[in-house]
């Protein structure tokens, strides 16, 4: 089953943003927008949120506990060895290792989380609605499967009013995203 989309192509950031606003006012559901660089206002408008920071916090917590436990286990419980007269549990030297390994773990885990959540990984081929969106165009994509003709017309005119240089129709059999 193929899905149809209306794609509004904008040249300028301001026009693109106001277009989003007016589409939302008319209660069009914006499928997604594509921009060459991140625009914070868009995130607010589309209510995009990321829970990566929370995840990263827990990754870090997990890493600290694991690393400290590992250090304690190896140097005190499993095979205590006397290095230069220091006690087996020479905690101050563990701090360094803990900090670095925590950072290490958080990085790896956050990257993995990002990759999994965004479904981005090497060789991934996502559906490209308009290949200019990574260059200089701002693109609004609206799914038109459930829209009737009047709504479609309204959508197109709305976009054109707001300054879209082009409004395209595209159909895709499957969407990779």
């Amino acid at each position: 089953m193929s899905r149809a989309f209306k794609i509004g192509v904008f040249n300028e950031e301001e026009k693109f943003i106001s277009s989003i606003k007016s589409l939302q006012e008319k209660e069009f559901i914006i499928y997604d927008v594509f921009t060459p660089y991140p625009i914070h206002e868009v995130f607010h408008l589309l209510r995009r949120k990321s829970r990566l920071p929370t995840a990263a916090y827990f990754f870090g917590l997990f890493a600290i506990i694991t690393v400290l436990a590992f250090l304690y286990y190896t140097s005190v419980l499993d095979w205590p060895i006397d290095y230069g007269g220091k006690p087996f549990n020479s905690f101050p030297s563990f701090i360094v290792v803990t900090i670095v390994l925590t950072i290490f773990t958080v990085t790896i885990a956050s990257l993995a989380a990002f990759s999994a959540r965004s479904k981005l990984y090497p060789g991934k081929e996502n559906t490209i609605f308009d290949h200019r969106s990574t260059d200089d165009k701002f693109i609004i994509v609206v799914n038109t499967d459930s829209l009737n003709n009047s709504q479609l017309g309204q959508l197109v005119s709305l976009m054109q009013e707001e300054g879209a240089v082009e409004v395209l129709d595209k159909e895709f059999e499957t969407i990779n995203a």
């Binding site: 060895i81 006397d82 290095y83 230069g84 007269g85 220091k86 006690p87």
Partner: protein, 987 residues
């Protein structure tokens, strides 16, 4: 604090380091190991099961990822006394014609691996010299002669015997003279054999030839006392010693015999005895001079005048008269007073090979009555018997064709006889020449017959070093090569069918058995063989009378004191001695204790002369017409003198010793029938060419740091911890955040008495032999990569003109708070519950961090693969050389750090022994290799947890301190302050 000076070298910025590995030419030698041993039908006592030994050593060296199939090859018939994996000790004697020691030989699986002192031998009392320690390596020298030759063609023994007997009897029938030229022989059985051999011929002469001659002492004593002997000096009885140009702690006569006696009187706190005071006159800076309380520089030519004045002053004082003669450059009045006040308890000695001087010495000692307690002519030292004039006479006779046959044993006159060309011509002039040498040397190949002799570890022998003190030498390994002992040859050639072993036994049965109180000879023999020594009382001969007439002549003879030009002194170096062991890489790499250089001989010049001539260390200088040699600025060298070591510059001693340094034997003079070790030249010029010297220490001042702590006797008496005040201060300051580690059972510690240590270096070689330490060669020494685990640091203080010298053996301090342990990332070095700083070679990845973080810099790194590497072809490349490796110590791979382990293999061995015997460990049971080899007993190892152990007591001694203790590394090595028997210097 004294003002310490910065070294001459540092001023001139000597470069010590040049890179690239020396391409030593490798002499390929075919190893005929397996031809005899494997297929031999009988495996007798001490049979060297070659395959077994080899498989072990190769196993110790094989290092590869995947282990190859390893074979275990048992004996066919098991020799009952050999236990694989256990050491077996044989008591034997070392005597090479120059140096004597009673020793124990440690053998593993039939191969000698280590020499240790024989505690029963009162002569050296468990101490050994570096050369004795290193002699085991000479056994496995590829340069050893491997088979008999005639006209340099290999023959078998029967052919050789046949021809020699024919030649000798031919000469005898023509009334030709047969001469036997040997090194000094003190074996009573051999002497008897030689005499028997001699009686078979109508004209026979036996000449003993010493490479470094003591002829003057022998002659002087013959003149004065009617006995040509070197007396024994009892330093332990002396309170005052004046020595002139005699390095009796380093090379003169028998240091290993003198050091324990000397140091026993140098203890500041031994009850009921005054500490010995030692005054030393000399030109070059010797080991003895470094240890003397007062060292006075003289030129060699001034010696006679000095001694004459001393004699006259003493004589005048004793007869109550005022001294009338002219005073010399040095005020000896104080010395005169001291000598007289310690009359009968003093020693005056000189090492100069000059009869007149020795007569003067005898005169002084007689005046002082020292022959009663301190100088023993009755129990003299049979260490040198060569009379120079007899050798000279022989050389003349050879050249005149008077001698028809010359048999040489253990001599190398082509190299070390002053007129070696003359000797060589005489040798060519002689019809029958037989050379009996053990190893390659310059004389080898010059004689018609080469009859190679056993190494001393392969042969039977005996020795009478002091009348009444006998020792036996027994083979510890079956001969490695097709060699035969000298005595066996003599027996063969004299038609005697007895074997040398039987002859020796028969002689002992006849001569010495009746002197023991044992019932039967078998028992006596076994006891003697087991102990290695046998002594009996000799009758105290009547007090020697001194022939005073002879003196007046020598006192009145004029001497010209050298005032211009340079006087060159030729001396034996502590490491190489006469040069007999030039092919021994351990000795070649052993730094001279004072100059701290190795792999070369140098011309030591005084700082003043160096400045005058613009010499810096390493400059090639030209002395006289044709002696070009690198210069070395030696603080303490007398102005106008140059000292050069003998024993270098070999041309045919094997791959290691050849072309190292310059041979200065040709410059030894022959004046009035005695050999003079020195010459005078007006010419000394700096060629300005640079030669790279292998210096192992380039900075010589302590920079005011409390590294060697010292005091003088008077201050020590009032306060035993004088000079060591810092110790208490630092002990109080020590604080730690962490709880202190509680050691249970054992905590190993080592105490080093800096007052006893004379710096003889024998610990260095003992350690090298025990711990399989590789030799790295001259280029790598220059790169400051010498591997010795224990080294003896030498510092100077006061003026470069005549500095005070300090020796400090430095080894791993086994710190309880070791900085090195903290930093190893892979935990290859950490601390044991017995206080050992453990180094695990197989875990080490070679980051060198521990080396850097060691404040003592005692860790060594394997910069290259030193085993099986042609670039380091010393003793760990050929299968033969590898047999010296101690199977209990891992051979280190390239890229790992190594260091002193406190001889942990010995600790473990003795602990196991105690466990097996169900007893506690005894104090002093465990001896590290350095402790065992030390002749002066300066090193003491033991358990610090045992309050009564010797080492614990030394750690409680107020003189005890730790090196760099302010760092709170808590070393397990303690040093005892150096106490000089000297008045305090006014600063």
């Amino acid at each position: 604090m004294k003002k310490y000076w910065k070294s001459v070298e540092e001023f001139h910025g000597i470069t010590v380091g040049d890179n690239g590995i020396s391409e030593e030419k490798h002499k390929e030698e075919f190893l005929e190991l397996f031809e005899n041993g494997l297929l031999r039908k009988t495996s007798s006592r001490r049979d060297f099961f070659k395959i077994f030994g080899f498989s072990l050593s190769s196993a110790a060296l094989a290092a590869s990822c995947k282990r190859p199939v390893q074979n275990a090859i048992p004996y066919v018939n098991h020799p009952p006394e050999i236990t694989p994996g256990k050491s077996l000790y044989y008591a034997t004697s070392f005597f090479d014609g120059h140096e004597y020691s009673g020793i124990l030989v440690k053998t593993r699986d039939g191969r000698p691996v280590k020499i240790e002192g024989n505690a029963l031998s009162s002569f050296n009392n468990e101490g050994t010299s570096a050369r004795v320690q290193a002699s085991v390596l000479s056994l496995y020298d590829d340069a050893r002669l491997k088979l008999p030759t005639v006209d340099n063609l290999p023959v078998n023994w029967d052919t050789l015997d046949e021809q020699v007997i024919k030649d000798l009897s031919g000469i005898n029938s023509e009334d030709g003279e047969i001469v036997l030229l040997t090194s000094t022989i003190n074996s009573p059985s051999t002497i008897k054999l030689i005499n028997e051999f001699g009686t078979r011929f109508k004209k026979f002469r036996w000449v003993q030839y010493d490479t470094v001659s003591y002829s003057a002492i022998l002659e002087a004593n013959l003149i004065c006392f009617g006995k040509a002997a070197i007396p024994d000096y009892h330093f332990q009885n002396a309170g005052y010693v004046v020595s002139v140009n005699a390095d009796f702690l380093g090379t003169w006569v028998s240091p290993v015999h003198f050091i324990p006696k000397y140091t026993s009187r140098r203890k500041p706190d031994s009850p009921g005895q005054e500490m010995l005071r030692h005054i030393h006159f000399e030109s070059g800076m010797s080991l003895t001079g470094s240890n003397a309380d007062k060292r006075i520089k003289i030129r060699p030519s001034e010696e006679k005048q000095l001694l004459t004045e001393l004699y006259n002053r003493i004589a005048a004082r004793q007869s109550g008269k005022e001294f009338q003669g002219s005073a010399g450059r040095y005020d000896v009045s104080e010395i005169t007073e001291s000598l007289i006040s310690s009359k009968g308890k003093s020693i005056v000695l000189s090492g100069t090979n000059n009869v007149e001087i020795q007569l003067l010495i005898n005169g002084i000692n007689s005046l002082l009555g020292n022959y009663a307690d301190c100088i023993d002519l009755n129990r003299n030292l049979n260490i040198a018997s060569g009379i120079d004039s007899r050798v000279e006479e022989l050389v003349n006779d050879l050249n005149e064709g008077k001698v028809k046959a010359l048999l040489m044993y253990n001599v190398n006159p082509v190299y070390d006889y002053p007129g070696s060309g003359n000797f060589l011509a005489g040798l060519k002039n002689t019809v029958v020449t037989v050379n009996m040498a053990c190893s390659l040397n310059e004389t080898v190949g010059k004689a018609k017959y080469e009859s190679p002799v056993h190494h001393y570890l392969e042969s039977w022998n005996d020795a009478e070093i002091i009348p009444g003190q006998l020792s036996l030498a027994q083979p510890c390994i079956n001969p490695l090569f097709d060699t035969r002992s000298f005595q066996e040859s003599l027996l063969k050639w004299s038609g005697n069918s007895l074997s040398w072993h039987d002859y020796l036994m028969a002689n002992w049965e006849k001569e010495f058995f009746q002197k023991s109180d044992l019932p039967d000879f078998r028992k006596f023999w076994e006891v003697c063989l087991g102990n290695g020594v046998f002594s009996y009382n000799i009758s105290d001969s009547k007090p020697v009378s001194f022939n005073k007439e002879v003196l007046s002549a020598s006192i009145n003879s004029k001497v010209s004191v050298g005032t211009y030009g340079f006087e060159v002194i030729l001396y034996e170096s502590v490491a190489l001695g006469t040069g007999l062991y030039a092919n021994n890489p351990w000795l070649m790499e052993l730094p001279d204790p004072v100059s701290r250089h190795c792999w070369d001989n140098v011309a030591a010049v005084s700082p003043a002369d160096a400045e005058k001539l613009g010499i810096i260390t390493g400059h090639l200088i030209k002395i006289g017409e044709n002696l070009v040699i690198p210069a070395f600025i030696q603080p303490g060298q007398a102005e106008g003198t140059v000292s050069i070591a003998l024993g270098y510059g070999h041309t045919n001693s094997g791959p290691v010793g050849d072309n190292i340094g310059v041979n200065v034997y040709p410059f030894v003079g022959l004046i009035g029938g005695t050999r003079v070790y020195g010459f005078t030249t007006g010419k000394l010029e700096n060629t300005l060419k640079q030669s790279q010297l292998a210096l192992t220490q380039v900075h010589h001042s302590m920079e005011g740091r409390p590294i060697v702590r010292e005091t003088v006797l008077s201050r020590y008496r009032s306060n035993p911890s004088s000079g060591n005040e810092l110790h208490e201060e630092y002990e109080l300051k020590h604080r730690t955040l962490y709880p202190e580690v509680n050691y249970d059972g054992f905590h190993w510690g080592l105490a080093i008495d800096l007052n006893s240590c004379v710096g003889c270096n024998s610990c260095v070689i003992a350690c090298q032999a025990e711990n399989n330490i590789p030799v790295v060669g001259k280029a790598e020494v220059r790169n400051r990569r010498i591997m010795h685990w224990i080294k003896i640091d030498r510092y100077y203080s006061e003026t470069p003109d005549n500095p005070k010298v300090y020796f400090q053996p430095l080894t791993c301090q086994h710190c309880d708070n070791a900085p090195c342990e903290n930093v190893c990332p892979v935990s290859a070095t950490n601390h044991s519950s017995e206080g050992l700083n453990q180094m695990t070679y197989n875990r080490c990845i070679g980051t060198k961090y521990c080396i850097n973080n060691c404040p003592y810099k005692v860790r060594r790194f394997n910069w290259f693969r030193y085993t099986n590497n042609k670039a380091f072809d010393f003793n760990t490349v050929s299968d033969l050389g590898k047999m010296v490796l101690n199977p209990d110590v891992t051979v280190r791979e390239r890229g790992v750090v190594e260091k002193c382990s406190f001889c942990v293999q010995r600790i473990q061995e003795k602990k196991l022994l105690a466990k097996l015997e169900n007893r506690t460990l005894k104090d002093n049971e465990i001896k590290t290799a350095c402790m065992q080899a030390c002749p002066s007993g300066a090193i003491v190892f033991g358990n610090l947890k045992d309050r009564n152990s010797e080492v614990s007591k030394l750690f409680q001694n107020p003189r005890n301190y730790h090196l760099l203790e302010e760092l709170h590394t808590l070393p397990s090595v303690g040093y005892l302050t150096k106490v000089w028997n000297d008045e305090e210097k006014k600063s």
